[in-house]
Amino acid sequence: MKIIGYIVQKEFKQIFRNKEMLPIIFIMPIIQLIILSNAATFEILNIKFSYVDNDKTSFSRSLIDTFDASTYFNVQNEYPSNKIASAAMLKGEVDVILEIPQHFERSLIKEQQTDLAVIINAINGAAAGVENGYINQIIKNFNTNARAKFMNQNASIERPKTIEASPSFWFNKTLNYKTFMIPGILVLLVTMITLFLSGMNIVREKEIGTLEQINVTPIKKHQFIVGKLLPFWILGLALLSIGLVIAKLLFNIPIIGNLGLMYFYTSIYILVVLGIGLFISNFTETQQQAMFISWFFTVIFILMSGLFTPIESMPRWAQYINEFNPIRYFVEVMRMVMLKGSSLADITSHIVKTIIFAIVMNVLAVISYKKVT
């Protein structure tokens, strides 16, 4: 026990003495949490909108005005022709072009119906879908108003049957993206810092040659491992705490669930990460390798974790792989407990799986760790 204490002390001294690393460990994650949470939004706003008006009536102008009034669109330019508008889209100056045909108003009145050309830059397919939805909605509303205006007061049309959908959004009424992203980004930062630091730590001693010095001391294998990993375990929990404080104070993210449950889960989760880190460091010779391998797996795990895109939408095989993705469980637990107030019973399966990962990874890591070279 005493020996472990000394190792922990040594590690902490090394961490706090390294003036280059300190800000990277503590300040950078915080800055990232603050800045990036604002960046991560799938909301589509400020759409670059331009138009070609071949009708030039007060009616066509009022259609443009409705787009202008919408918060989603930034009405930018009127282009004299379709050709010039398309060139602007090639340059990336505009993402949506509305082309109002000649005699727009007249044919609507005379022929009871008229077309309206909409051109959308669809490179970002998902965004294009959303933009199309907004546009259709605006045109539909405009159409309804116009119909009311043109229609003879006395003439009554047959009322169509309507099925109304009334959506309500629970746990996040305003569809605030930060509420969704911040627990996820927190997971990311805790994982990355603990994994990278622990993964590189022992390799560093190997590479510099100080590991041999430790190996010839009477320190036992388990003491060494515990002493090496404990500081990062504490560091991870400290990072989580800082992150939660920022989430609450700065972003006003609701923390509905039980804080104790969150810490309980995180403390197990960090064990998994540390086990992976140790395992990687046993199989690598240089920090560069260790870093690369950790990076390789974190990127894959992060992208598949459901942090940015929903897991259900992934193909079967990806979902099977995800069963073994620890980050996925952490992301889910954080969101469930923090935002929905899920209880211990709700996340039991997550906890059990994480404990199994922790045991497997650490046993593998300890077995593969050799005191002799």
């Binding site: 800045i35 169509p160 099925i163 009334s166």
Partner: protein
């Protein structure tokens, strides 16, 4: 010159002998492209929903069948009452519940109006919103069928054309992003690490006292990574064209030139990091933490820049990746030539010169 060649040879040996890193170096782009192409999508498929049907009549049954028939939803469990919804959400099995009001058919027949309530778990706002939109679309379709006989006067019909990506494929968005990130990280991270490694192990001193000029030491360090990055870029472009059927509308030559330019930008950034960092650990953490997340999030790769707060839109301008992504999309998808992307190209050249100038200023040929 001969000395210089010898030095480059040594660097190649270093890289080539480290099989594990090499594996990752070339495995990474392939795995990432595959993941993004096949697994990662913003769309929704097979989302688990539940239905609470208070009227259980022919109309609601028909609507439920329609929802089931779409591939977007899979109907999971039936929920006994409203009170059970919250618990279901907390377990995280279902993402939304549809509630049909009492006497649905009757109201629709009599008042011409009936309501479906959609309750969505909005902890994931994007999915919640998409679910609500999709269900709405299914309902609208059904409504349209009901009203076939009714003729609506004064109709404006939008004719939408999706240009550059008519099938709305996600890959078109992700391939340029993945390519940028890989080039950025491989180039910046690898060079910064390989230079600081020499510092940390003490061999930098040996290199600096060698007759090779310090500037050539750095150039020699960089050259092998230019090769590696070019191979990577080629692999990614081939994969995107042949596996994901992404078009290459513009000139291949221009694409190659711009890619080399971006590789050099990233490498110069790597050199800059190495002049600041004294240990591999610092170099790696700076490359990873300061480059990876901002590059992923602020470059417009996943999240649209125009939707961000103004400050972040301004900050995004200093991210080299943003400009390269614009160039890539322009050349590959829009088929534009240099006359459309000269501005972005000049910005990248400017950034490169700036990084190099700063590195030269900071570069110490003596070790403390």
């Amino acid at each position: 010159m001969k000395r210089f060649r010898g030095f480059i040879k040594k660097e190649f040996f270093h890289i080539y002998r480290d099989k594990r890193s090499l594996f990752i170096l070339f495995g990474m782009p392939i795995v990432q492209i595959m993941l993004f192409g096949f697994a990662i999508t913003n769309e929704i498929n097979n989302v688990n929903i539940a239905i609470l049907d208070h009227s259980k009549d022919a109309t609601t049954q028909e609507i439920i069948t329609k929802i089931e028939a779409s591939n977007y939803f899979s109907i999971q469990e039936s929920i006994p009452n409203e009170a059970a919804i919250e618990n279901s959400f907390k377990k995280g099995i279902i993402k939304a519940v549809l509630i049909f009001e009492n006497d649905f058919s009757k109201k629709l027949g009599k008042d011409n109006n009936a309501t479906v309530q959609i309750i969505a778990d909005a902890t994931d706002p994007n999915t919640a919103n998409t679910i609500s939109n999709y269900i709405n679309a299914i309902l609208k379709n059904y409504q349209h069928e009901l009203n076939k006989a009714v003729k609506i006067p004064y109709q404006i019909i939008p004719k939408t054309r999706m240009v550059f990506n008519p099938e709305l494929k996600g890959v078109f968005m992700f391939v340029p992003g993945v390519m940028t990130i890989i080039l950025m990280l491989v180039s910046a991270m690898m060079t910064s690490i390989s230079i600081t490694r020499e510092k940390e192990l003490g061999t930098m001193e040996v290199l600096l006292v060698s007759p090779l000029k310090p500037i050539l030491v750095i150039v020699g360090k960089v050259v092998p990574y230019i090769f590696l990055s070019i191979i990577n870029a080629t692999i990614i472009i081939l994969l995107s064209i042949f596996v994901f059927k992404m078009p290459l509308q513009g000139s291949l030559f221009l694409l190659a030139l711009e890619s080399v330019l971006f590789i050099i930008t990233s490498l110069s950034l790597g050199i800059l990091i190495s002049t600041i960092a004294n240990s591999q650990q610092t170099a790696m953490m700076i490359s990873l933490m300061a480059l990876m997340l901002p590059t992923i999030l602020l470059s417009g790769f996943i999240f649209p820049i125009t939707s961000m707060p103004t400050i972040l839109q301004v900050i995004s301008n200093v991210i080299p990746a943003k400009w390269f992504i614009i160039i890539l999309k322009g050349i590959m998808l829009k088929g534009v030539g240099i006359s459309f992307v000269w501005k972005e190209t000049i910005i990248l050249i400017g950034m490169t010169l700036f990084f190099i100038a700063l590195s030269v200023k900071k570069y110490k040929i003596r070790l403390e």
